[in-house]
C-alpha cells in the first residue's frame, strides 16, 4: 500500500511542489519516523508541503561533525517568509536556529553540530501561514553533539567570549552579504559536567537601529558561530550585531 503511494508521489514530483500523500509518512521524502513527532512539537501539527523550492544544501557527509556547513535558500515564488526553522531529525537537540528574515532575503548560511547521519530540514512559514519544508541528507561518523568544542577543551573560551567579527560584502547581482562571527563555546549541555552555554538570540541592525534580521539560536549551532545573511540592498549606515547567550551575557559589535 505504502509503496504504491510513494510511486504516485514520485511521479507527481516533476510537476512542482509535492503533495502530502496518504501513506505512513504523510509524504515525507525522508520517511523519518521522528519527523512525525517533530511536526507536532515544532510546527504545531500543521500541514506541510514538501517543497523543492526550499533548497537546503550541505556536504554529502560531515567530515567534521562539529562544524557541518549548511545553507538554506527559499525561492521567492514561495511567497513572503515569516520564519525559517532548521531542524535535524536525529540530533538529540533538534532545533538548530530559527531565523526571521525581516528585511533580509530568505537565505541563511551557518555551521552546526551533527550527532549522526540524518535529514537536515528547513521548515519555512510563509506570511500567509503555510509551512513549506525542504531538506537534505547528511551522512556522518557521529558524535558532534556529545563532544566538547576546541575552545572549551583548551579553556581559551573565556578569553574570547562574545567577540564579534564581521564584514559587509557587495556581491553585485546577488545583493549584499553580511557575514558575522561570534566567539562562543556553544556547549550543548550533553558533555558530562559542562552545562548548556550557548548564544540564544542575535539581531542584525542597520546604522539607524532598525532590526534587519533575527535569529533564535540553539545548542547545536557550532562553536564560534559564523552566520551569512543576504540583503537586497546594502544596510543603511552600516551593520551592528546585538545578542545574548543563555546566561544573560550581552553580545554587541559594530561591523567596520
Amino acid at each position: 500500500m505504502r509503496r504504491r503511494s510513494l510511486l504516485i508521489l514520485s511521479s507527481l514530483a516533476p510537476l512542482g511542489p509535492a503533495f502530502a500523500a496518504d501513506d505512513d509518512f504523510d509524504g515525507d521524502p525522508f520517511q523519518s519516523g521522528v519527523w512525525i513527532d517533530m511536526r507536532r512539537q515544532v510546527l504545531g501539527g500543521a500541514k506541510v508541503v514538501y517543497d523543492p523550492r526550499v533548497v537546503v544544501e550541505g556536504p554529502a557527509f560531515a567530515e567534521d561533525p562539529l562544524n557541518v556547513p549548511v545553507s538554506v535558500r527559499v525561492d521567492p515564488a514561495v511567497g513572503a517568509v515569516e520564519r525559517i526553522s532548521v531542524l535535524v531529525d536525529r540530533n538529540p537537540i533538534r532545533r538548530v536556529p530559527d531565523y526571521e528574515p525581516l528585511a533580509a532575503l530568505p537565505v541563511i548560511g551557518f555551521r552546526f553540530k551533527l550527532e549522526q547521519a540524518s535529514p537536515v530540514r528547513a521548515a519555512v512559514l510563509t506570511k500567509v501561514g503555510r509551512w513549506h519544508v525542504g531538506g537534505t541528507w547528511i551522512d556522518s561518523a557521529g558524535g558532534g553533539c556529545t563532544v566538547s568544542g576546541a575552545t572549551r577543551a583548551d579553556g581559551s573560551w573565556s578569553q574570547t567570549l562574545g567577540q564579534v567579527s564581521g564584514r559587509v560584502f557587495d556581491r553585485g547581482a546577488q545583493g549584499t552579504r553580511v557575514r558575522l562571527r561570534v566567539m562562543h563555546p556553544m556547549d550543548t549541555g550533553l558533555v558530562n559536567g559542562v552545562p548548556a552555554f550557548y548564544v540564544n538570540r542575535l539581531s542584525v541592525l542597520d546604522g539607524t537601529g532598525r532590526e534587519l534580521a533575527r535569529v533564535q539560536s540553539f545548542e547545536p549551532v557550532s562553536e564560534n558561530p559564523v552566520f551569512s545573511f543576504d540583503f537586497p540592498q546594502p544596510p543603511e549606515g552600516g551593520v551592528r550585531l546585538v545578542g545574548t547567550d543563555n546566561n544573560g551575557n550581552r553580545i554587541a559589535g559594530r561591523v567596520p
Binding site: 550541505g58 567530515e63 556547513p69 567577540q163 552579504r177
Partner: protein, 319 residues
C-alpha cells in the same frame, strides 16, 4: 551449462574476463587477501602499490604505496600499511621476494596507513621522527575507530603498535646502501622523504600526491608549498608518492603544488568575496583536479579543514 550454445560461451568469456579483472584490480574482500605485489624499481628496491582511490572495503582500504629495500645486510621497510593483515601479507611478500630478513621499518609521517601494519613487524626497530611519534600517540585511537568503520573486516585484530625509535634526518647506511632522510613539513608537522642514493629512488611520502587530490587534515599550505619548492630543486629520479602512480622527476610534486596554489588563491578569493562554506563546497574547480582520484571526498575534506582559516582572515574584528 551446455558449452555448445553461444550464450554459454559468452557467459564463460564474461566469467574469464571478470576473473582477470578481479586479479588485476587488487584486494579480494571475500578472502581478505590484499594480493600485494612487489614491483622492482631498481635492483633491490621494490614498491608495493595501492589502489589510487578512496578508502573502501572493496579495495581493502589499501590506497597507499609502501616499499622495501634490500641492502645486503637486511631489508628496510618503508611504511607498513593500514591494518595488521596488510602488515602480515607485506612481511610474507618480502620473504617471497628476497632472502634477506627485515631489519628496520621507517614511517614517513603519522598517517594511519603508514603504521597500522606494525604488529607484523613487532620484532624490529620501528623508526619515526619524534614529532611523528607524538602525533601517532595522540591520534592512533581515532584512526583505529575511523578505519574500522570504513574498512570493516579487513581491520580485524588491528591494534596500534607504535614506532619505538626516534629518527633524525640525515644520511645513514645499512649494509651496502647509503640512504638519505630529508626533513620537510606542510602535509603534516613532520614529513620525511627517503632517498636511496644507490638507485636514486625517492620515497616522497605524503608530500607528493600523484593523480589524486591531496589530503589536508594536518596541512599547512604555505609550508607545504615551500617544501615542494625545495623538493623540486633536488635531482629527482623515480619518485614514489604516498598515493598515486610511481613516476619520474617533478611531475607529481608539480601537480601537488599546482593544486595547493590554486586552493590557496581560490579560497582566499572566495573568503574575501563573502562565500559561505556550503557555497565553497559547490564552487568551480578546474577540470584537471576534478579528474583526479578521490576528488569528491577529498575536496569536501579540504574545504572543511582549510576554508575556516581563510574565512577568519577575511572577517575583521568589530568595534
Amino acid at each position: 551449462m551446455k558449452l555448445g550454445s553461444p550464450f554459454a560461451w559468452l557467459a564463460l568469456l564474461v566469467l574469464c574476463v571478470a576473473t582477470v579483472a578481479a586479479v588485476a584490480a587488487g584486494a579480494d574482500p571475500k578472502t581478505l587477501d590484499y594480493r600485494l605485489a612487489a614491483r622492482a624499481l631498481a635492483p633491490g628496491v621494490w614498491v608495493v602499490e595501492g589502489t589510487n582511490a578512496d578508502f573502501s572495503p572493496a579495495n581493502g582500504c589499501n590506497i597507499i604505496n609502501t616499499g622495501f629495500v634490500a641492502t645486503g645486510a637486511g631489508v628496510v621497510v618503508v611504511n607498513t600499511g593500514p591494518s595488521r593483515r596488510y602488515g602480515e601479507q607485506l612481511r610474507a611478500l618480502i620473504a617471497k621476494t628476497t632472502a634477506e630478513p627485515v631489519v628496520q621499518v621507517l614511517h614517513l609521517n603519522l598517517h594511519p596507513d603508514h603504521f597500522l601494519g606494525n604488529q607484523a613487524f613487532a620484532d624490529v626497530p620501528r623508526r619515526a621522527t619524534a614529532e611523528t611519534r607524538a602525533g601517532i600517540a595522540r591520534e592512533a585511537a581515532a584512526y583505529e575507530t575511523n578505519l574500522f568503520r570504513l574498512c570493516g573486516d579487513w581491520m580485524k585484530g588491528t591494534e596500534t603498535l607504535p614506532p619505538n625509535e626516534d629518527l633524525a634526518p640525515g644520511r645513514f647506511t645499512v649494509g651496502a646502501r647509503e640512504f638519505e632522510l630529508l626533513a620537510f613539513d606542510g602535509h603534516t608537522a613532520s614529513d620525511l622523504v627517503l632517498v636511496d642514493r644507490t638507485s636514486g629512488v625517492v620515497f616522497a611520502g605524503g608530500l607528493v600526491f600523484a593523480q589524486r587530490v591531496p589530503t589536508t587534515p594536518h596541512a599547512d599550505v604555505a609550508r607545504w608549498l615551500a617544501s615542494l619548492e625545495r623538493l623540486q630543486a633536488l635531482p629527482l629520479g623515480t619518485v614514489v608518492p604516498s598515493h598515486g602512480p610511481v613516476h619520474r622527476g617533478n611531475e607529481g610534486a608539480a601537480a601537488t603544488r599546482r593544486y595547493l596554489q590554486w586552493l590557496d588563491r581560490q579560497f582566499a578569493d572566495w573568503a574575501s568575496g563573502g562565500w559561505d562554506m556550503a557555497e565553497v563546497l559547490k564552487g568551480p574547480v578546474p577540470a584537471e583536479f576534478r579528474a583526479w582520484a578521490a576528488f569528491d571526498t577529498e575536496y569536501l575534506r579540504n574545504v572543511a579543514h582549510l576554508y575556516p582559516r581563510y574565512e577568519r582572515s577575511a572577517l575583521p574584528a568589530a568595534r
